[in-house]
Amino acid sequence: MSIAREHPLHKRRSGRNIGLALVLLAFIALVFGLTIAKVSGGGSIEAFDHTYRPSLDPATLIQVEE
């Protein structure tokens, strides 16, 4: 049996695969857009590196703002 032979089953599977591909692409685009929005719109981005830093302490931040 030739693999190239068309069967309705191929069409259904192809439709499913294309649908899933489009959903995944949309998800990637959305996560990318979210990342850009969060990074460009957020405040200062500073990672916690296991040592105390006043700039990461909310209480200190309030004092500074006052």
Binding site: I18, L30, A37
Partner: protein, 324 residues
């Protein structure tokens, strides 16, 4: 040696089309979820980045779809018995129960985590609770146990505007609770009006619908009671910071219209209803659909009109419940 030949003549559940998986997510229910969640998001004070807002709506809709898939997985036995639901993907044999469960659980997890990351923890937690409520409390527990199942199930459908609100504000306020109550009180008369003229086979499926357990007379009375209870909720929403003259006019006018319809349903008996093929019940059902869409549309219109300073100043006079 591994035989890699595929059996191309094989058909069955594994050969579902993409549309069958989409149908698993109950896209028609999703439209209401998207619209009310969008309303909650747009009327909430403060702002949200458009991409974050879009993501919030998508993940709220996805969460609603996931709970729909889990509902179809759990209720596959009921769906197979009832004519209205027999063509759903699982009873029709296009999608297996295992697939529906896997899709439901996976999409639930993705939607909750992504909503949390896109907006805040409260919105994510509310979405998680909504899915839990719809699947476990409603579908698994109370749907087959009490004729008040529609009332309880309505709570799950009422959460989206609250989640939309929480996505923007990070909190839940009186306005969000009133939007919740608006859908919660609207759901029973809406579905019971449908149950009166859709002679569904709930009895064969052993689902205790009010029309079956307490009769049609009691159902008509319940429709009137819930519609009366809906009116103060609709009006109270207009007295908060999201209300205003446009919404209030729509709420009073439409609630009186809904009430008139519910009264007409209550006054009728089965002989009268069958004589005109349930014309009043069908009219009230259609009206109830417009009722919710117009009221939430009016809330969005209020939010838009407040960009006009003169209107915003006038509308604040309606905000009598704003200090709560």
């Amino acid at each position: 040696m591994t035989d890699i030949r595929a059996d191309f003549t094989q058909t069955g559940p594994a050969d579902a089309e993409f549309a069958d998986y989409v149908a698993l997510l109950k896209p028609r229910v999703m439209t209401l979820v998207v619209f009310t969640a969008l309303c909650g998001l747009l009327v909430a004070p403060g702002g949200i980045h458009p991409v974050e807002g879009l993501a919030a709506i998508i993940f709220i809709a996805l969460g609603g779809g996931a709970s729909g898939a889990l509902n179809m997985w759990w209720d596959a036995d009921i769906d197979a018995v009832m004519k209205r639901t027999a063509k759903r993907p699982i009873p029709s044999g296009k999608v297996t129960e295992g697939e529906a469960l896997a899709i439901g659980v996976t999409l639930s997890a993705i939607s909750v985590i992504m909503l949390w990351l896109a907006t805040n923890a409260l919105a994510g937690a509310l979405l998680a609770f909504t899915i839990f409520f719809y699947v476990v409390i409603y579908s698994m527990w109370l749907k087959r146990a009490t004729p008040q199942n529609i009332v309880i199930g309505g709570a799950a459908g009422a959460f989206p505007p609250m989640i939309g609100w929480a996505a923007v504000t990070g909190s839940v306020s009186v306005e969000a609770c009133l939007m919740f109550l608006l859908i919660f009180m609207w759901t029973p008369p809406h579905f019971w009006a449908l149950a009166l003229f859709m002679k569904s086979d709930y009895h064969e499926a052993k689902v205790p619908m009010l029309t079956v357990t307490h009769g049609r007379r009691a159902t008509r009375r319940h429709i009137l009671i819930y519609t009366v209870a809906l009116l103060p909720v609709a009006v109270a929403t207009g007295l908060t910071s999201i209300g205003g003259p446009v919404y209030m006019a729509a709420a009073v006018w439409l609630s009186l219209g809904f009430l008139t319809g519910a009264w007409a349903i209550w006054k009728r008996d089965e002989v009268q209803a069958e004589a005109d093929s349930y014309a009043t019940e069908k009219r009230v059902f259609r009206f109830s659909l417009s009722y919710l869409f117009v009221l939430f549309g009016a809330l969005i219109a209020e939010a838009a009109l407040r960009y006009l300073p003169a209107y915003a100043e006038f509308a604040t006079r309606f905000n009598l419940l704003g200090s709560l």
